[in-house]
C-alpha cells in the first residue's frame, strides 16, 4: 500500500526516496497514524513533504491513490447497518437481557444512534473496539461484530483526509519552477569567489599568536577583514522577437540569479537583438543607460553574461542606429564589451545545431558561446571563473 503511494508521489514530482520511506515505515510501526487513513494523511504529509511547494502535489497524489478506499469505507458502513437489521431479525438467539435492550430501541433510533456513534468515532484513539462490542453494554455489541467495528474507524476518518486532500488547500504555494530555478541557482553558485575585504573586524587567531610570540608574550591582537563574496556580475538579456519562445527559460535563469545571495553586485540589463550604445534597465526597453556610463561605473573585474539567440538580420550587426549615434556598429559594441570584460560568456537558447547561421557564427567569434542548458551554464560559469579567453 505504501510503496505504490510513494511512486505515485514521485509521479507527481514530490521528491521522496528511501530515507522518507523508512521514516514513514518507522512512524507507522510506532502507531502514529492511529490505524486510520486520517492519521496516515497527517503523518505521511509531515514526513514526505519537505516544502509547502510540494503540499499541493501531495494532496493530489493522495486523493488519487486513496480514492477507492473511501468508497470501501462506505460499503463497510452499509454492511454494518445491514447486520443490524439482521440482528433484529435474529432475536431468538439473543439472551433475555440483550432482547430487553433491543426492545428499548426501535430500528430507526438504533440506526440513528449507530450513525451518531460512527461519527463520534473520529474523536477516539484506540482503534474502535470500544464502540461496537464492549461486553453487551452497547446495543450493537454482539457475536463478532467488534471486528467489523474496528474497521469502521476507517471511513469516519477517510472522509476527512480525502476531503482535505481533494480541497487542495496548498495550490497557491505550488511553484513548479522551483526545481529548475534551484538547479540553475546551484550552477550559478560556482561563480562564488571569496576575498577579504572591508573593515578588519574578525580576529586573526594565528596572526595574533604569531605577533604575540614575536612581541615576547606581550599581547598583540591582529584582526582581518571577513571573507566575503567578491563576485560582480553583469547580466545582459535579449528580449522580444526571436527570443519570445525562450522567455520562460530565460526568466528562470534571471530568477535564479536574483535569488542568489552570493553576488556582491548583480546588474541586469536588457537589449533587443543587438547592442548599440545603450542597454535598458526594464524588459520593456525603457529607462536606457548609455554603455559609456556602464563602462564608467564598472571595471574589468566584473563578469559579463549575455543571454541571447544572436539571431538577427545581418545588417543589424553592421548598423549604427544607437543613441547617441556616433557611427559605431553593433558588432563593434559587442567587441568592446568582450574586450572590457575579459570574464565573459554568451548563453544561447538556440540548439548548437543551428549555430552555423551567419550572425551566430559572427557573435561566436566575439564571445565564447554556450547553450542555455544546465550543462552549458556550468561550462559558462567555469569560463567566467577561469577568466580571460582561451
Amino acid at each position: 500500500m505504501i510503496v505504490p503511494f510513494l511512486y505515485e508521489l514521485r509521479a507527481h514530482r514530490v521528491p521522496v526516496g528511501t530515507q522518507e520511506t523508512l521514516a514513514l515505515a518507522e512512524a507507522l510501526e510506532h502507531g502514529l497514524h492511529d490505524s486510520s487513513l486520517d492519521g496516515f494523511y497527517d503523518v505521511a504529509r509531515a514526513l514526505l513533504c519537505h516544502s509547502e511547494a510540494h503540499l499541493d502535489a501531495f494532496d493530489q497524489a493522495f486523493a488519487k491513490h486513496f480514492k477507492g478506499v473511501e468508497s470501501l469505507g462506505n460499503e463497510l458502513h452499509q454492511q454494518l447497518l445491514d447486520w443490524l437489521k439482521e440482528a433484529q431479525g435474529r432475536r431468538p438467539t439473543l439472551t433475555p437481557e440483550e432482547r430487553a435492550l433491543l426492545d428499548q430501541l426501535d430500528k430507526e433510533t438504533l440506526e440513528k444512534l449507530f450513525a451518531q456513534r460512527l461519527k463520534e468515532q473520529k474523536e477516539r484513539h484506540d482503534g474502535g473496539s470500544k464502540w461496537v462490542g464492549t461486553g453487551g453494554k452497547s446495543p450493537f455489541g454482539h457475536s463478532g461484530a467488534a471486528r467489523d467495528g474496528i474497521r469502521v474507524g476507517g471511513p469516519g476518518g477517510n472522509r476527512r483526509a480525502l476531503r482535505v486532500a481533494s480541497e487542495r488547500h496548498f495550490q497557491n504555494y505550488r511553484d513548479d519552477l522551483v526545481l529548475d530555478v534551484r538547479q540553475l541557482g546551484l550552477a550559478l553558485r560556482k561563480l562564488r569567489a571569496f576575498a577579504r575585504e572591508g573593515r578588519p573586524d574578525e580576529l586573526d587567531l594565528d596572526g595574533t599568536i604569531d605577533a604575540t610570540a614575536r612581541n615576547l608574550g606581550e599581547l598583540e591582537v591582529k584582526t582581518r577583514a571577513p571573507r566575503k563574496s567578491n563576485t560582480k556580475l553583469i547580466l545582459l538579456m535579449d528580449v522580444g522577437g526571436s527570443m519570445d519562445p525562450y522567455a520562460d527559460l530565460v526568466s528562470r535563469l534571471f530568477t535564479a540569479a536574483k535569488k542568489a545571495t552570493h553576488f556582491k553586485e548583480l546588474r541586469t540589463y536588457y537589449f533587443h537583438n543587438c547592442i548599440y550604445g545603450q542597454v535598458y534597465t526594464s524588459a520593456q526597453l525603457r529607462d536606457p543607460i548609455p554603455l559609456g556610463r556602464l563602462f564608467a561605473e564598472t571595471n574589468r573585474t566584473y563578469k559579463l553574461l549575455v543571454v541571447g539567440d544572436a539571431l538577427m538580420a545581418p545588417w543589424e550587426l553592421m548598423d549604427s542606429t544607437g543613441w547617441p549615434s556616433d557611427g559605431t556598429e553593433g558588432i563593434v559594441w559587442l567587441m568592446r564589451l568582450a574586450e572590457l570584460y575579459p570574464h565573459c560568456a554568451w548563453l544561447n537558447p538556440e540548439s548548437p545545431r543551428g549555430w552555423w547561421q551567419t550572425t551566430i557564427e559572427v557573435v561566436r567569434r566575439v564571445f565564447p558561446m554556450y547553450p542555455l542548458t544546465l550543462e552549458g551554464l556550468s561550462l559558462a560559469v567555469e569560463q567566467l571563473t577561469r577568466g580571460g579567453r582561451a
Binding site: 512512524a27 509531515a46 516544502s51 503540499l55 608574550g217 552570493h262
Partner: protein, 275 residues
Amino acid sequence: MRFKGTDSYLTSESLRSAVDCALALQRPLLIKGEPGTGKTLLAEAVSQALGHELLTWHVKSTSKAQDGLYVYDAVQRLHDSRFNDHDVRDIKKYLRLGPLGEAFAAKSRKVLLIDEIDKADLEFPNDLLHELDRMRFRIVETDEEIVAKERPVVIITSNNEKDLPDAFLRRCVFHFIEFPDQALMRRIVEVHHPKLDEALVDQAMTVFYELRSFTRLRKRPSTSELVDWLAALKASGLKSLKLDEQLPFIGALLKREQDLQAFSEAFQGGRRSKA
C-alpha cells in the same frame, strides 16, 4: 507521549500529528508558515506540555553553526595570561557551550528552539547536519566528546527567506502552519480574550478577514496582529466597528506605509486615519 496543545496554544490535528512524529522518530521538526501564525510559540507550547525546559537559539545573519555548539574565547585567555593573576592552564574555563551544546550536555531532556534558521548563511543548516543527526559533537580544544544523554526535542522555524538544502530537509519532519480558518481563529481569540463582547469580536473578525482578502496589501495582517488589535480595542472600550469608517488602531493591523495608504484610498476616500 502525545502532544495535545496547551490551554493557550490551540493546534490543528495535522500539527499535533507532526509534533508526535518528531517526538517518536526523534527528528527535528521544521515549522514554516506565514509570519504571525505562531511558529515560535509552538516550541513554548511543546516545552510546557511535555514539562521539559526550553532553550532558545535565535539565529541571526551572522550566526555560525559552531556558535550553537561551543565558543572558545582565545582572546580572553591570551589576555589573562599577560598578568599572571588567572590560572590559564585550564582551557575549559574559556570554553562556553552554545544552546545546542547545552541541550546535549544537559542531564534532563530539553526542548531546543532554533528560531528563524533561514536568517543565517546558506551553509548554516548543512553545518549542523551531523550534530543534529548523531546528537553528539567533539570539542577540538580538549578532545572531549559531548554526547546527548537525552536527545533534545528540536524545533526549527523558517520564514522562507532562503531555501534550505535538501539534505537538511530530508532529516526533518515538516509542517506548514496554514492560516487559521474563521472557526479556529474564533477559538484562538477566545483563548486570548475570553471576556470580550461577542458582537465586537464578530465585527473585528469581519473587518480582519476583509482586510486580508484586500489584495493590494504588501503585508497581510496575521493572527498575532488580530490578537494585539483586539487587546487595543478592549482597552479603549469601543463597542462597534465598521470597515468604511475611521478604523481605530489601524496601525496594529497594517504595518507598512504603502498599506496604510492603499487602505485609506480604498476604504476612506483618501482621508488618512490616525494610526
